[in-house]
């Protein structure tokens, strides 16, 4: 039972990282009708800049600020150079252009930082473990990630549901012509959304940095999961992204934790070794297929 609670917490933590990625992706997709494959490159940019700044200054907070700022700036540039010129074009053009950005970003990182993965350690005051339940030491840093994810969720909810800009965003998603006629500069609004999504992707990269290898191409694996989250949650819905991220995070973690052992009980030895992990890695895609079968537009899609 304690182990189950621990695994549940692990799932929530994974979900929080996914949410930070998926929130920007779903807004850009939903409001601007733009498919941005380069979202993973923004994740990578945040992690690399933070790692470089932390290595130079020794301050994690400074690295955090710099990483988010550079990712947001990268987002503004992408918006001007790629997103706006291709806004009215079909999805295929957008996919091709942003895929090119992935290749360019990966190669640039390789030229600047080399092929060696970089290190980013959690700040000293977040290293180590705390005993959250008797006999279950839990990494303090993972708890901090959950907290950051909750703060981002709350912040986004306030922004979208309780502010004027948020009202424009919601209106822009459903009636873009209408709010343009009412005097809202939709181009600037979209640029703002894109930059905010980029900043969140950068934040996700920095937050994930201490767990994972910071290397060229690190954004692609998480990008696929983020798209799964967006599709499950419903395109354009931040709340859907939050629910989808938690579903995927918890589902993936519990699947990896329990499916192999379960399959081992049921299947004959020999096939079980490969089958369990294969099923576990398919789990979230099965979940996605199930959601799409029941609700073709995602849980909260309109």
């Amino acid at each position: 039972m304690l182990l189950f609670l621990e695994q549940l917490l692990n799932g929530v933590q994974l979900g929080m990282t996914l949410f930070m990625m998926a929130a920007g992706l779903t807004l850009v997709f939903g409001v601007m009708n733009f498919i941005n494959l380069a979202h993973g490159s923004l994740f990578m940019a945040g992690a690399y800049v933070a790692a470089a700044v932390v290595a130079a200054t020794g301050s994690f907070l400074l690295g955090l600020v710099a990483g988010v700022a550079v990712a947001a700036l990268f987002g503004v540039v992408l918006d001007r150079v790629i997103v706006r010129p291709l806004a009215g074009r079909g999805h295929l053009d957008q996919v091709l252009a942003t895929f090119a950005v992935i290749l360019i970003a990966n190669e640039t990182v390789r030229l600047v930082f080399g092929r060696q993965p970089l290190a980013l350690d959690p700040p000293g005051w977040l290293a180590g473990t705390v005993e959250i339940l008797p006999g279950v030491p839990y990494p303090l840093y993972r708890l901090a990630v959950i907290l950051v994810g909750l703060l981002v969720m709350a912040g986004l909810w306030l922004l979208v549901m309780r502010t004027r800009v948020g009202m424009w965003v919601r209106a822009g998603a459903t009636h873009p012509e209408m709010i343009q006629l009412l005097g809202v500069d939709i181009g600037r609004l979209n640029g703002l959304i894109f930059a905010a999504g980029a900043a969140l992707a950068g934040l996700a990269g920095i937050v994930a940095g201490p767990f994972i290898a910071i290397q060229s191409g690190m954004g692609e694996a998480i990008l696929i999961l983020a798209f799964v989250v967006v599709v499950i949650g419903g395109i354009g819905s931040v709340l859907g992204a939050a629910i989808g991220a938690l579903l995927v995070g918890v589902g993936d973690t519990l699947g990896r934790a329990y499916l192999p052992a379960l399959v081992h009980e049921l299947a004959p030895a020999g096939t079980a070794e490969g089958l369990g992990p294969a099923l576990a890695s398919m789990g979230i895609y099965l979940l996605m297929a199930l959601v799409l079968a029941l609700r073709p537009k995602g849980l909260l899609g309109r």
Binding site: L14, T129, I212
Partner: protein, 386 residues
């Protein structure tokens, strides 16, 4: 047009003159992995190879063609064909990953090309699929895992938890470990290839209460796993063991102090006490500004093996029987100490246990703490009918 023809003729004549002045260099094709997360492996093999040519003053005897396979078997096949058919490569080398090697190497060696493997050593090429044109200068894939099994068993651990990615080399790794380790297996877990989050596996691992952990996570997976295990406080409680692939100097830099104390098996170490190795390590650090990895040592040895065989045949590799004979003799000074080929043309060599530690300059690196297997030959040599 007339002028152009004259110009081309002149250039061709100059080329002939240059050709007459010095013997033609031997063309070596290197298909290796320079991009993706595994790109630093190919980089080190290439850099070690080039360094050996420079230190031997042999840069004009070998013309090296290098190309990135992007860890894609199809790319590897195309590049190899182009190098052999269009560029006229006479010797091939360089492949890092076994999946690429299995797509490229059998075709090459059956087509009469000599191939020197600086890294990948799939069992299929060591046993029934061995070939007189195929030489492995690194190891057979199982070797380092089998050695760690012997070491862990020898240290008295008898309840070991095993982890590896769910792909052929991962399964070979755990099979290799169990060749000499006969104790209880507390858990045998295969994870997704390229997985980044190991929280679920680590929680299960702690709950299983093993007395030691053996894992095979090469490249970025190794960084992720070791960092997360240290953050969860698990690698401080339970001793961790693995092959050198998860603990080369590049990965140690990225993992940092979390790796200190972890023991790993390797056929080479930067602190191996022989003259050739000292010169290699110093020259590598000097030229490239980083610590060499085992991959760099393998690239270095591959070039020196090639040069030793070229010496024996007067740089004329067209007489393949004589060239093969010279390669088989392995008459070169390996940075890993004693080195000779077994009947399947794979190394017979000592395998050491190393420990990650912080050296005088504050860098996390490896040092040897003992020899596990002396004069080890791989388990598939007997199946090779050559």
């Amino acid at each position: 047009m007339r002028f152009n023809h004259g110009l081309i003729g002149g250039v061709a004549a100059l080329g002939l003159l240059a050709g007459a002045a010095a013997a033609e260099p031997v063309k070596v094709g290197m298909v290796t992995t320079l991009s993706t997360g595994g790109g630093y492996l190919g980089q080190d093999v290439r850099d070690g190879f080039i360094l050996a040519l420079e230190m031997a003053g042999a840069t004009d005897r070998v013309e090296l063609l290098v190309e990135d396979d992007g860890l894609e078997p199809e790319n590897g096949v195309q590049i190899a064909e182009r190098m052999v058919e269009r560029d006229g490569a006479e010797v091939m080398t360089g492949i890092i990953f076994s999946n690429v090697a299995m797509a490229v190497v059998p075709k090459l060696v059956r087509g009469g090309m000599i191939y020197l493997s600086p890294n990948a050593g799939p069992s299929a090429l060591a046993g029934k699929g061995c070939h007189e044109n195929y030489f492995n200068v690194a190891w057979q894939n199982d070797d380092l895992h089998a050695a760690m099994g012997a070491y862990v068993a020898g240290q008295g651990f008898d309840n070991v938890y095993l982890l590896a990615p769910n792909y052929p080399a991962g399964k070979d790794a755990l099979t290799g470990f169990k060749r000499f380790y006969k104790g209880n297996v507390a858990g045998e877990v295969y994870t997704q290839l390229g997985q980044t989050d190991y929280a679920a596996e680590l929680a299960n691992l702690r709950a299983a209460g093993p007395d030691a952990v053996f894992f095979f996570y090469p490249g970025g997976m190794g960084i992720n796993f070791v960092k997360q295990a240290a953050q969860a406080g698990i690698s401080q409680e339970i001793p961790f063991f693995g092959p050198a692939f998860s603990f080369d100097d590049t990965l140690l830099d990225a993992v940092g102090d979390a790796a200190v104390g972890i023991k790993n098996t390797s056929q080479w170490s930067p602190d191996l006490d022989n003259e050739a190795n000292k010169a290699f390590v110093a020259a590598f650090k000097d030229k490239y500004g980083r610590y060499p990895t085992l991959y760099a040592s393998q690239g270095f040895d591959t070039a020196n093996l090639l040069l030793s065989a070229m010496d024996a045949v007067g740089d004329d590799v067209s007489d393949q029987a004589a060239f093969r004979e010279a390669l088989r003799a392995a008459d070169f000074v390996s940075v890993r100490g004693d080195f000779r080929f077994g009947p399947n043309q794979h190394p017979i060599q000592d395998i050491y246990v190393r420990e990650a530690y912080v050296d005088d300059s504050g860098n996390v690196t490896n040092r040897i703490i003992g020899t596990v297997l002396e004069g080890h030959a791989d388990a598939y040599a007997a199946e090779c009918a050559m």
